[in-house]
């Protein structure tokens, strides 16, 4: 499809949103809710320099939702996190900022910056650690998952007997920022899910993005497997594709989450790199407050990948979560990581076991 055609579709969709939203002009019930989320951590680890026992200040998240009318809602999520390069040691960021127009029952049009609905984790937990079943995100979030998209989204939920849901999105892709996209070809996300039982969600998604230049922007958390000076990094175009499958079941006694990702990054230099990630979480609710759990987290980046660069890594963790109430929980996690390949060098190195403790809260 030509760039001109993409641009025309984009403009037409924005026009449609304007027309639909202008139909609902009379504000009836205005309701605004503010919430905050944060976490503190303690970790005990060991590297070449010896042992470390550190307390750490985690992200602090300010969340706002406001009904501007019966059919229009604003949602914002703003995070402050530690950053040693900042003059104040902290940097703020807008993680979500969107307007949602609920034009007919359970169908909405969303415009703004969202967490790309590619998998269960990215669509549900956002930056609220108090909702995380474990201490941190799957490893694939650092390499494959396009965390954010700024653009236009069509969403449906709770449709039919199986509670079918869909998300279709066009927007700024991986290499763009919140104010600039380096081509007229948007990234495209298509995602569907069903919720056959209360607490259960099964989903599939496909993400398509042609990066004009291999420059991860603010819309991904993509890292390279090792620190590579900018001048030595591959700078050319990348055809980035990601297919994901999620199975989540958070029931009264047993919790289970599986996130599977198949990614290809295609370049003229090294061809098609086929990558894979697999994340499994299983928890047993011994009581409503007490949950021992297990994590299996594996990632394999192919030898010819020059978006992330080669890597093969496995993390196993055992943990325990104690929920004081729905706004406060304590997680204790013992984890060990194995690295089988790193930037084309095959070797097996292991790190850990490390102890991590997290106190996550909402207010």
């Amino acid at each position: 499809m030509s760039n001109k055609k993409h641009f025309s579709i984009y403009v037409a969709l924005l026009g449609l949103l304007f027309v639909l939203s202008s139909v609902d002009t009379q504000a009836q019930v205005r309701q605004t809710q503010f919430n905050g989320f944060g976490h503190l951590e303690f970790y005990l680890d060991r590297d070449e320099d010896g042992r470390h026992a550190s307390f750490a200040m985690g992200e602090h998240d300010f969340f706002v939702t406001s009904s501007l009318s019966d059919k229009i809602t604003f949602i914002g999520e703003y995070v402050i996190r530690f950053n040693g390069k900042s003059a104040t040691n902290y940097l703020p960021s807008i993680e979500r900022s969107l307007m949602k127009f609920n034009y007919v029952n359970n169908h909405s049009i969303i415009v703004g910056k969202v967490h790309t609905p590619v998998n269960y984790w990215n669509d549900v937990y956002h930056h609220g650690r108090v909702f995380f079943p474990v201490i941190d995100r799957p490893m694939s979030f650092s390499y494959f998952v396009p965390l954010h998209t700024l653009g236009l989204q069509f969403q449906g939920q709770n449709l039919g007997k199986l509670n079918f849901g869909y998300d279709f999105m066009v927007g700024n892709g991986i290499s763009s920022t919140d104010v600039y996209h380096d081509s007229v070809v948007p990234s495209i996300t298509g995602s569907v899910h069903i919720r056959p039982k209360e607490g259960m969600r099964i989903g599939l998604s496909y993400y398509w993005d042609d990066l004009h230049d291999n420059v991860p922007g603010v819309h991904s958390g993509h890292n390279t497997s090792i620190v590579i000076p900018d001048a030595q990094k591959y700078q050319g175009p990348v055809k980035f594709r990601l297919a994901s499958f999620s199975f989540a079941s958070f029931r009264e006694k047993f919790e289970f989450l599986n996130e599977t990702g198949f990614n290809t990054s295609i370049t003229d230099s090294t061809g098609t790199a086929r990558n894979f990630s697999q994340y499994v979480y299983a928890g047993l609710n011994v009581t409503e407050k007490s949950t021992p759990y297990f994590v299996f987290d594996y990632i394999d980046v192919a030898d010819n990948d020059i978006h992330v660069y080669p890597l093969e890594k496995l993390k196993i963790a055992f943990g325990y979560r104690y929920s004081f109430n729905y706004l406060l929980n304590l997680k204790v996690q013992l984890e060990k990581t194995w690295e089988f390949e790193h930037f084309g060098h095959e070797h097996t190195a292991s790190y850990g076991p490390f102890l991590r403790v997290q106190l996550a809260y909402g207010f």
């Binding site: 939702t65 009904s67 019966d70 359970n106 709770n158």
Partner: protein
Amino acid sequence: MRTIGLLILLLTLSWGGFAQQTDLGQLEFAANVKGVKSLTSKEVVQIFRNGRSLWASGEKVIIVLPSNKSDMAESVAKNLYGGSVTAMQKFWLALVFQGRANPPVFLQSAEEIMVYISKNPGAIGVIPKGSGDIPESIQLTIR
């Protein structure tokens, strides 16, 4: 092969689990919605689980629940959500945070709940049976 076997076992376990029980007979409902005087029990449960964002009339669905400090909260959580007050609060906070639901209105007393519903078109609320009088104009019958 062992990994796949373990995954299948975990999926099987998570498919089963404990069904969340509801007992609507212990509750009374009120709604201020054009043309809605009765609903089936299935429809009510679906609405109170964020199954509907707009009524057929186009009004926004506003869920009204007893706040966690109210004496009525435990009965509503148990009989409508099949769990504890904490689980009910977590259910709604998580949905609101995901951007998939508007926040419910939590109120302290049955009287406050009835006044709020009467004044706000689209509102639907619940109280335990016998905990307050529901004005006839907003009474909702469960079929």
